[in-house]
């Protein structure tokens, strides 16, 4: 791993422990400092520093030309980014919450994802769309959605989601520096959890997954907040002598088919865990890839443990909606006993 070339702005980014909120904030600082074309904007990202304080202090440091509030209109925000990109800027817009990305879907799908293609490469779209995502914080309606399947289906986009602070830092640097549009899904439920590890330069290529725990009996595939969840499940399972490998997918488009297949070759069994509803979720894609590329290695059907096919529920029902440890363990058991 390359050590981070610290700028004064991101000095405390090298401290040994960070929350993901701090790590993303530090990454934005690094990016704003290193490239004067980078712009951060969205609803309440300026003076307030974002509802999750992810952009805290950036306006004070980089000025209200580089970091600014927009009116409350998601399609307008993304459309603005397209025009800025066409004029040579590197926009990093935030949409305030997952469920409020829907009004911007037209601009994202029909414009951001296609302008490079439509223009035969003349108009690159180096836009990174930050989207606080997923559930787990008992929030109001529309504040707990998982949109990865929607975006992963769109040609021209790349999609990633970090699972811990250090990786959040690396993935954001990589996303913003890339000249292709990236949707960067931030797991809200992990914003405040601190973990040790220096904030360093990206060390893996775009699209690479990570094995975050090795195991030999089955592979748990996850991203975002579900990675931490799967690590806990793996600890429970280890008490019973079941060694689960946990694969942090990181990139949801492109998907690391090689990494996935390699893990399945080792374990022969897969459980995909995601928060989004089951039907037509990304778990389907992963199951399809696994059975396609590792058919003979697969000793049991790929299991999917996901949110149910119901609209994201209110607070008290959230733990009953999200894949809980029991459901994952039962799926592991099913795959082991198949």
């Amino acid at each position: 791993m390359t050590e981070l070339a610290t700028t004064p702005a991101s000095a405390d980014a090298t401290a040994s422990e960070h929350s993901m909120q701090q790590a993303i904030n530090a990454a934005l600082r690094t990016l704003l400092a290193e490239d004067p074309a980078t712009l951060v904007f969205g609803e309440d990202v300026g003076r307030l520093g974002g509802v999750f304080r992810v952009t805290d202090g950036l306006q004070a440091e980089f000025g209200d030309q580089r970091v600014f509030d927009t009116p409350l209109a998601e399609s307008g925000i993304v459309g603005l980014a397209v025009g800025l990109a066409m004029n040579g800027w590197r926009p990093v817009p935030e949409l305030q919450f997952d469920g409020f990305a829907y009004p911007a879907v037209d601009q994202i799908v029909n414009q951001v994802a296609r302008m490079h293609y439509r223009s035969r490469g003349a108009a690159p779209m180096p836009i990174t769309l930050r989207l606080p995502s997923f559930g787990g914080i008992q929030a109001p309606e529309h504040h707990g959605e998982s949109l990865e399947a929607l975006f992963a289906h769109v040609p021209g986009l790349k999609v990633c989601s970090p699972s811990d602070p250090a990786d959040a830092y690396r993935l954001l640097l990589q996303s913003v520096r890339a000249d292709d549009p990236v949707v960067y899904l931030e797991p809200k439920a992990r914003y405040w959890n601190r973990s040790p590890g220096a904030l360093t330069e990206p060390d893996l290529p775009i699209g690479a997954s990570r094995v975050v725990r090795e195991g030999r009996h089955a592979t748990l595939v996850a991203w975002g907040a579900m990675v931490h969840h799967c690590l806990r499940v793996a600890e429970f399972a280890a008490e019973d002598g079941v060694e689960l490998e946990v694969l942090d997918l990181r990139w949801l488009k492109p998907i690391d088919t090689a990494g996935l297949t390699a893990s399945v070759r080792r374990t022969g069994r897969v459980v995909v865990v995601h928060e989004a509803p089951l039907t037509a979720g990304l778990g389907g894609e992963i199951a399809a890839l696994v059975q396609e590329h590792a058919f003979r290695d697969l000793r049991a059907p790929v299991q999917r443990v996901t949110g149910f096919d119901v609209p994201y529920p209110a607070g008290p029902l959230e733990p009953q909606y999200l894949p809980n440890a029991d459901r994952v363990l039962l799926a592991v058991q099913r795959t082991l006993e198949f």
């Binding site: 509030d69 409350l72 109001p140």
Partner: protein, 345 residues
């Protein structure tokens, strides 16, 4: 600063309303204020995970809602219309259940209450009001729809599309904007090009009315006029009530990060309850007994609502599966069984 542009002209209580009506308006405002206070307290006690206060916007909400025909009209709220719910007689325990996070849409019946589900998508319900109103006219019914939305919401494309549709169809709908000067941390000056949402009306060929949102009677009169026009076939109206969100955006927000507390203080001087109480006293429409009495009754009611909402049973996980479809799918039934076997226990 746009917060200064409040229309200060009208003195609350002036007008032709019966004293009885004026006292009712006051009572609704007081009920909303006190219930809002209870809700904030419940949030502090951890009963509500979060809450959005309407403190300061009582006149705008009560005045507009009181002008509705409760039998025939239909309101489309956002997430901050507690005082509209109070005025329309919505089941407040069911309403606050949404803030206790028991069920996103609350536990009241939106159709029977003629008050749509709480809606957290800023701007999203505004076209619904236009659809409802068009549907009413198609069937020859007498009802009007009212769409509540904020100054921030006015920036959303849906609000424009809704206003244009309403203008083209001549639908009986009132677009009621509570301009409380702030959309979370963003002031009008960085939100509303031109500075006036009422002024947008002209662009759609409909009247745009700016009203002092601290003056419940002025709001009532403006809304009643717009509803009468709509009911008579005169089409839609935009009303912009200039008011103020005295509290932070929500209990999770820290308004100190973006606005001057002095501004809050200035607006507290134009507190709508205070203005109305003064007017009632001045015009001798209410005496000390009335205020003691109404406070007692309202407090009792608030305590009942608070207690009841606090002890509502948590929703049953089965409800997640029960309400997705009218005719559930086999796959959803299967998932319901998975839930029963692997989650419920």
């Amino acid at each position: 600063m746009h917060a200064e542009k409040t229309a200060q002209g009208i003195e609350t209580g002036a007008g032709t309303l019966a004293p009885e009506t004026l006292r009712t308006l006051y009572r609704h405002m007081l009920a909303a204020r006190m219930l809002d206070g209870e809700a904030i307290a419940l949030q502090r006690q951890g009963v509500f995970p979060a809450y959005v206060s309407l403190h300061g916007q009582e006149a705008a909400q009560v005045g507009s809602a009181a002008a509705l025909d409760p039998e025939h009209d239909f309101a489309f709220p956002t997430y901050r219309e507690l005082a509209v719910a109070v005025t329309m007689g919505v089941d407040l325990v069911g309403y606050l259940a949404s803030h206790r996070a028991l069920w996103h849409g609350g536990l009241y019946d939106p159709i029977a209450s003629r008050f749509s589900c709480l809606n957290a998508v800023v701007g999203g319900p505004v076209p619904h009001a236009v659809g409802w109103a068009l549907g009413e006219r198609l069937r020859g019914g007498p009802g009007c729809a009212i769409a509540y939305f904020g100054d921030g919401a006015s920036s959303e494309g849906d609000v424009h599309e809704a206003m244009n549709f309403a203008g083209v169809f001549g639908s009986p709908v009132v677009f009621f904007c509570q301009n409380n000067q702030w959309a979370l941390s963003v002031p009008n000056s960085a939100q509303v090009a031109g500075g006036s949402i009422a002024a947008r009306g002209a662009g759609y060929g409909m009247p745009g009315v700016t009203v002092d949102g601290q003056d419940v009677v002025a709001v009532f009169e403006a809304t009643r006029a717009a509803l009468e026009r709509a009911r008579a076939g005169g089409g839609p109206t935009v009303i912009e009530a200039l008011t103020y969100r005295v509290n932070p955006h929500s209990t999770s927000d820290d308004a100190g990060r973006y606005r001057d507390p002095a501004e809050e203080l200035r607006w507290r001087e134009r507190d709508p309850l205070l203005l109305m109480r003064r007017a009632l006293e001045r015009d001798k429409h209410a005496n000390a007994d009335f205020f003691t009495d109404v406070e007692d009754r309202v407090r009792a009611e608030c305590v009942r609502v608070r207690d009841e909402v606090s002890v509502l049973p948590p929703p049953d996980g089965s409800d997640m599966f029960a309400h997705v479809y009218r005719e559930p799918t086999e796959e959803l039934r299967r998932q319901h069984r998975v839930w029963r076997d692997e989650v419920e226990q």
